[in-house]
Amino acid sequence: MKSIETRYMEERQAAIEGLRGLDRRAFMRVSAAAGAAALTTGAVWPHSFQPLTFEANGASPLEESFRIAYISDSHLYTKEVNDRFVRSILRAVDDVNRMDPQPDFVFYGGDLAQLGQPAELELGAEILKNVKAPVRMMVGEHDWYFDLGRKWRELFGEDRYSFDHKGVHFVVLNSVVEQDFWTARGLTPMERMQTVAGLDNGLQNPFMVGEEQRTWLAKDLERIGDETPVVVFSHSPLYHLYKRWNFWTEDAPQVQKILRRFARCTVIHGHTHQPLTNRIGNIHFHGLLSTAWPWPYAPEGLPELTVQMNRPDPFNPMDGCGMGELEVSADGLIDKVYRLWNRNPVTVSAAYLKSNGQDDRPARTNASSY
């Protein structure tokens, strides 16, 4: 004997599946027919799914809404060097493991290691094994510039890849490619790593996705329809914010051009260690929190839609850090949840972005950056 809920879910699923593959005209016919059937039989479908419901939602492209958790920017030294950052990522792992229901997967946003040392990456990999949900990885510059990704790829696989999940096309990029500044100066791998590891170190080059990956991305997206929700993960923001700190991807405009045709496109980035919101055309951008430390907001270039978090409390080393979630709605857009430790969670909703900041605005800061 099936419960009411189970029957409800089955009916719902059947209705959705029946709708998939219909073009808009066929969809309208089905909707009209269903509406007419409902009228003639006088049937009320309180537990069923009239196609009309879906049309009202704007031809929802997804089977169901779902949730992704994220952890990012843990900057691990080995635990003998620094236990604080280790305890922070463990706290984030506990947080995601306690989520109920569990997220479909946990996304790691890059900068697992601080100085790209094999022992740091191994420690991170070991810690992330404790995550109950599947983990998807992205690389950051701190993971990369000691051995140019050798250890990271050995542990986690390709640094750029794509996958489909419940009707959303996900792409993970390596956006921290820098032009060679080390060979001419004869730097050792550690010197190269330390140069890139300094956010305000002006001896490095701007991040980029690079031509090779852009070609790969364009090809990867060829088969994806304009209405399919697309989520792109990049370590650095895929727009120009503040070059001095590489809150920046040099070839972001070219990447945005590739993404422009998608009606529902969200870019999720790490690196900036702070709530950060932007919209360029249809593309929504959200930053991720770090588990290790918060960055100050850049002195210039902050997107208008960004609502700053209050300046972190210097007397509380965990303040301004945290983890969070991506709530993927059935319409394929994302509500971004920042779970700041010691503070109320902040949600930056798709409605806020869609309305260009008119609706559902997060609470303003009373301690902004200056």
Binding site: G198, P299, P314
Partner: protein, 229 residues
């Protein structure tokens, strides 16, 4: 080439990026001019002051050649070059904000006959060079977990890139968590003890002075707003 009317010295910049300071005796009618290299020994006697930059350069080059002949083992030019290159590299790395430009104080005016205010270009160069040095030193301490004495490999720049979010212009201010009104140096020490997990520095520790210099320098132009939170 500049001829400094006050001290009668010449400052010539050599072709190898080397600053050569030449001390001259004040020329007097019909008397030869003694030009001495900054080693205090090598010198040459000229019938008159050089009339052009090229002539002065020739004199400087001649003195340098004499010095090199006497000191074949000492590669001082290389060392000086290396230091300049190193400073240029650090400047590019830290993108230090430059100090106030005091050049407007030079020139004719009330300074004539007012010894305290009769500055020379050399004074201005000295002020700028020395203050830049301290700020540069501070930048290095700020970015170096070992010199800060961190036991967990944490340096200031990890939370404060370019000394952002340090707000030196807001001190003194009352910090509830410390329980008194503090200056920037007290907050620096709080950070060193807690997030950096090291030992607090003495207030006159050269590292503390350098750190303060760097932090203030990076906030050049901000309005003093003591007490601001």
């Amino acid at each position: 080439m500049r001829i400094d009317k006050k001290t009668g010295s010449l400052l010539a910049v050599g072709g190898l990026g080397v600053a050569v300071l030449l001390a001259t005796a004040r020329p007097q009618d019909g008397k030869p001019v003694q030009v001495q290299l900054c080693d205090g020994e090598t010198s040459v006697s000229l019938p008159a002051e050089p009339a052009s930059r090229a002539e002065a350069q020739a004199v400087a080059d001649g003195l340098m050649a004499a010095w090199k002949a006497k000191n074949p083992e000492r590669a001082w030019v290389m060392e000086q070059d290396g230091q300049d290159a190193q400073e240029a590299l650090l400047q590019k790395r830290f993108q230090l904000v430059g100090p106030y430009d005091n050049r407007a104080m030079l020139g004719e005016g009330q300074a004539e006959g007012h010894p305290y205010r009769d500055f020379t270009e050399r004074d201005v160069v000295l002020w700028e060079r020395e203050v830049r040095r301290l700020v540069l030193e501070g930048a290095q301490v700020f970015h170096d977990a070992n010199r800060l004495g961190s036991t967990i490999a944490v340096s200031c720049d990890m939370c404060h890139p370019d000394a952002s979010n340090t707000h030196p212009e807001t001190y003194p201010k009352y910090q509830t968590q410390i329980g008194r009104t503090v200056l920037l140096r007290h907050m620096i020490n709080w950070c060193i003890e807690h997030p950096v997990r090291g030992q607090p520095l003495a207030e006159d520790d050269p590292r503390m002075i350098a750190l303060e210099a760097y932090i203030y320098a990076q906030r050049k132009g901000k309005t003093l707003q003591y007490g601001r939170h």
